[in-house]
């Protein structure tokens, strides 16, 4: 089971909107489950934030290692954990996870076996018609399994995402590539959080 909040959903959407012609990927952060809590719910994922990673070439490992080490460090001070990974292929009509997605998911699952893949599907990208723009997959022994029916999206998310794109916030979102190009670009994207707080429904 998994759910996603407005902030994570919106940041992901903004990243896609910023680079519509390229493959993009990123990390979803979840609340770290307390082991003292109900054991049965330890696989419940609650996505509360999103860190966009790269655009264009997604298959080079050094900067991925750098990004994951920084995101890990960021998570440990906030009781968060890397709980998901999103991936959009370059080709408009290809919604299938590829080898790059497989490798990165395997790496993420080393630290969090419950992590899931949110695979962007361009046929769903019209948020006036759909409540989400991706399919959710688990990975077991190199096999993907669609688990869409176990993923919950709240009503507000798609409205927020549409609203922020309309306000051209997709031009403001920073991914890890942007950060490495110029480190004053903040991959934590505090501005987006502020924009969302200024939005009310």
């Amino acid at each position: 089971m998994s759910e996603i909040n407005t902030l994570a959903f919106t940041k992901m959407f903004l990243h896609l909107a910023k680079y519509p012609e390229l493959a993009v990927n990123g990390i979803l952060l979840g609340v770290r489950s307390n082991s003292a809590n109900d054991e049965a719910d330890s696989s419940y994922l609650n996505f509360v934030d999103c860190i966009p990673l790269f655009h264009g070439v997604l298959s080079l490992s050094p900067m991925l290692e750098i990004a994951l080490s920084q995101i890990d460090a960021y998570c440990s001070t906030r009781n968060l954990t890397i709980a998901g990974y999103y991936h959009a292929n370059e080709n408009y009509s290809d919604p299938n996870p590829n080898f790059t997605a497989l490798r990165i998911m395997e790496k993420i699952k080393e630290n969090n076996p419950n992590a899931v893949l949110l695979m962007i599907d361009n046929t769903l990208v019209d948020l006036n018609e759909n409540d989400r723009f991706y399919n959710v997959f688990t990975l077991t022994d190199k096999t993907w399994k669609n688990v869409n029916e176990t993923h919950i999206v709240n009503d507000e998310s798609r409205l927020s995402a549409l609203s922020l794109v309309k306000r051209n916030q997709h031009r403001q979102i920073i991914d890890f590539d942007n950060h490495l190009d110029s480190i004053s670009n903040d991959w934590r994207n505090p501005n987006i959080r502020n924009e969302l707080n200024a939005t009310s429904f």
């Binding site: 920084q70 890990d72 903040d186």
Partner: protein, 283 residues
């Protein structure tokens, strides 16, 4: 209107990618103005709006621009024919587009732009292997085309064929050895292959050209760490081997200090995260 024209000019000259903004400028400012006062620039602008409209799936705007261009330059114009084929590409009539490109090439087989559009057609239909094959043929003739080498490199990377991607990255290094980005890209591909030694060499050559390249500074830390892990210092190893490890450690330290300095100046509140991250990488 003047500032819109200037902005469009800037985007054309600097090859800026801002298609949604360009369409906004068209819709809000330019579409109901008379552009004849701009002389020849009018046609460049129409072509620019046309291409951006295709990128934004605004086929009706693209059609308007294309109609005006066809009226002016007639259908016999190669440039307008190419735009017409691009229009077909955008509505997924790939066969129609290919017919136009094939006929344009029959008339002039040296038309590099049309050849590259044919390769794009393959890419759009997810025929990556065929695109790679055609691009290789293209590059046998146009060996100095940096854009093409870069595209081929990316295609190989998407197929995880690091060996062939390395070859393309090497061509780019040969064509332009003074571009720090080429060195860094080459290093990162080598790293992804597991060749930490080569990667480290080229991260250093990147820094020689541009000491502020953050990716290269991080690359020095990653490669030196990986190399010293492969070469653990023990009493039984030679002095030379232990000295090598010592120099790895010094270089990691140096790169770390460079990075910390830059973060301190640019984005100090991210510094604790960075320091923890580097610590975890070099453990």
């Amino acid at each position: 209107m003047q500032s819109a024209i200037e902005k469009l000019r800037k985007y054309r000259d600097e090859n800026y990618r801002a298609h949604d903004e360009i369409i906004e400028l068209w819709t809000n400012v330019l579409s109901n103005r008379n552009l004849s006062s701009l002389g020849d620039e009018k046609w460049l602008i129409l072509e620019q709006i046309f291409k951006s409209a295709l990128h934004c799936s605004k086929q009706s705007i693209a059609r308007q621009c294309l109609d005006q261009l066809e009226k002016q330059f007639k259908r016999t114009s190669r440039r307008v024919s190419t735009l017409n084929a691009m229009y077909y590409e955008s509505i997924e009539e790939y066969g129609h587009a290919e017919e136009i490109y094939a006929s344009l090439l029959e008339d002039n087989e040296t038309d590099a732009i049309v050849r590259k559009r044919q390769i794009s057609l393959l890419k759009e239909q997810n025929q990556i292997r065929e695109a790679i094959s055609e691009l290789n043929s293209y590059l046998e003739l146009y060996q100095a085309d940096q854009e093409a080498w870069s595209e081929l490199c990316d295609l190989y990377l998407s197929e995880h064929d690091y060996t062939k991607a390395t070859f393309c990255a090497e061509e780019l290094l040969l064509i332009n050895p003074h571009n720090h980005l080429n060195h860094e890209r080459y290093a990162s591909i080598r790293y992804s292959q597991g060749d930490y030694d080569k990667a480290r060499t080229y991260y250093f050559s990147t820094l020689k050209i541009n000491p502020s390249n953050i990716r290269a500074l991080y690359g020095v830390i990653l490669t030196s760490t990986n190399l010293s892990i492969k070469n653990p210092s023990t009493a039984s190893k030679t002095q030379a081997s232990n000295d090598t490890n010592q120099s790895f450690i010094e270089q990691i330290q140096w790169a770390r200090e460079q990075i910390i300095q830059k973060y301190r100046e640019a984005i100090p509140d991210l510094l604790p995260v960075i320091e923890t991250a580097i610590q975890s990488l070099t453990l």
